[in-house]
Amino acid sequence: MSGLAMPKPDDATMRRRDEIVADMRIIVPGEGVVDAANAMRAFESDGLTAYRQLPLVVVLPETVAQVSRVLKYCNDRNIRVVPRGSGTSLSGGALPLEDAVLLVMSRFNRILEIDFPNRVVVVQPGVTNLGITTAVEQEGFYYAPDPSSQIACSIGGNVAENSGGVHCLKYGLTANNVLGIEMVLMNGEVVRLGGSHLDAEGYDLLGVMTGSEGLLGVVTEVTVRILKKPETARALLIGFPTSEQGGQCVADIIGAGIIPGGMEMMDRPAIHAAEDFVHAGYPLDVEALLIVELDGPGVEVDHLITAVEAIAIRNGSTTCRISQSEQERLSFWAGRKAAFPAVGRISPDYYCMDGTIPRKELPRVLAGMRELSEKYGLGVANVFHAGDGNLHPLILYDANVPGELDKAESFGADILRLCVKVGGVLTGEHGVGVEKRDLMPEMFNQIDLDQQMRVKCAFDPNHLLNPGKVFPQLRRCAELGRMHISGGKLPFPDIPRF
């Protein structure tokens, strides 16, 4: 679709498909190799369903040794590999390639160790995000990052995407909550980073692996930190006549030294769609609706609720409800959590974007979006992680109307350009994948991109692992390694030196 160019399939690999499938069956015996087209159909796309492609073959290994052998086999024969967790990526990170082995990690689904005294859990990468919390909640613990797909998404995929969630303002992203991983490099080598201790002994490879979108290595084990559940949580539901007032309220809350557990904003179209769908009791006469959740000991929560309420009133809120029960708190969230399907009800299709902006630019970006909405003739609803400036505009379109998908994509690209223009970034938590790949030059120049690709060269010099994702143009590592040295003269002869 939309002229997305993927790496040209390798003829030699395509010709040897039968042989490769047979060899995969030797490495992963039993049910772990899927090569029939109808059975592979289940893997042809991830959460970005507009893009579909059948892989060469689907392989579901069960052991680290199998992962290592598959990767080494493919590396030796120049065969591409696309790793996949639960396939919930919203950016096409797990989109198969026609000539690539799709390495599905879902059978790595065991919890290996729960260590309450040190508050760490060691899991295999196919364990779901919520599965970790489920395993420790009887002792009152939980795993903090909570992407909205947490019931399905795998922790290995969370590492690949550096997933966030509504609580990450206070509790951090995946990168701040993962202490260690075991991974397999494309050449089959098994490498361990970190563990149940803190920080790296050398370069922070764990930091660069987190959010690397499956391009550097295949994660086979993850050590995460768990936290004690807060004693209580209460929320405020605050409506404002303008988005400026809502934005100022957020700034003032933070200015008062308060970091809420969650702080979400919705604009009028999103409020209406959500209210029509779940009847959460949202006010319909406001332009911006803010949900602020405070968590911690009851005495702290009560103290901060009062403070936030005062800030809201000072900023001209027209409605401010405070949850008086757990049920009421959940009802405040019900509309926000159902925002995506709610928008799905008012439009045949929607396209979810993921830019981040400096918060103060919100009114300008919303105004820009309204202009773009008119220009493209497509509606847009906004949900916004207000605390950290992460916007999720939902562009409304109808895929059955010829040209509308292209229009929606162009609209989305323009929104992301606007985000970058005001000092923001292309993606806050969904990843670049294939979706935003060709927009990377909006944020990075060629030198920036080349240096990122050189990181790739240290891990996978033949560009075999998940190629065609993240980088708009692949350059050979030999070419990237060349030095361009310009003379030996100091262009600034007047630099002070002693």
Partner: protein, 413 residues
Amino acid sequence: MTTFTPTTSDEVLSTVAWAVAEESPLEILGHGSKRGIGRPLQTEHTLDLSKLTGVTLYEPAELVLSAKAGTPLAEIERLLAENGQQLAFEPMDYGPLLGGEPGKGTIGGVLAANLSGPRRLKAGAARDHILGINVVSGRGEAFKSGGRVVKNVTGYDMSKLMANSWGTLAVFTDVTFKVLPAAETEVTLAIRGLLDDAAASAMALALGCSAEVSSAAHLPERIAARVAGGTLGSDAATLLRVEGFGPSVAYRIAALKTLFANAGPLQEISGEASRLIWRDVRDIRPFADGSEKPVWRVSMTPSQGHQMVLTLRMQAAVSAFYDWQGGLVWLRMEEGDPEAALLRGLLRKHGGGHATLVRAAPAHRAAVPVFEPQAPHLAALSARLKAEFDPKAILNPGRMAPGVGSATLGIAT
């Protein structure tokens, strides 16, 4: 022997580009407050960033601050404090330990050494707060990564890769950090007189309850007397710090007091006295003795820390104290030998981790791997990464590991 002192990013770029063309290695320096850490360098030239200064962006409501890499940390902390904010990861000061002046160090050095402090348990280290960088690689090219927003997954997180790189991958020109509100109130609960193993259990219990303890340290007998001007006395002190809004801190301290009612004598320390204790724990004051006795920083599984020390004591004379619930062990080797092989062997037997020789005479630093040696595949990966950033080994060659790039240039290792 030339020292270059650029005042702009462009001058940094041209200096590094020149050094690359000349194949002439540079020592990268801020204030030099951590110059004594790592293998001793023998470079012909020095790139001194201490004049590349200035806060270029600070928006308290957006929780973001950008500065030139040579900006003094003290200046940034002052500015943040004026606005009720802080670097929540509490970067430590190696100055006192290494015989330097306290309060030195640049914001670039904070990232290069991935500094943190007692709040590491709750708030992370420099790596967890860096949002964006502008740097010059050892290829003589300026590049950027990240941005000024907290949530960003656009491209690889090269900013984190710079954390703990000790000037061996790139020269930083600009860094952008997330900043956070400073806590309104801080109170420390000290449990007195515990032995190391009882202290480890107490700290695990404290961190596993909902009192949101932000720091947990254990100062064994006599060590306790060497912080905060001796105000703690010499009995062992197991320290639990609680921070936040007044009513919440009072409630949580009360909860901890109930939890530890029978653990030993309890002592409540608040405000400035508490801050002083944690500053001294952070800055390893108990071992800031003006000597060159080897000091190790060991990061390991918290519950294993005191057990490893117990075994180590059977074979070497050591002084030890613990931060991070016992997962950060500071060790002073009393007989002058670093005992690197012994220590690292025991560390492997106690759940792994890493030991860094943060203070030692130059001869020891040249002979003993200062940073924890890595497993072969990981070491090879790190060396390949170094080569992708600094193929001619211009930047701090050999500081982190011998032979990484330096042999080809014939530099004594």
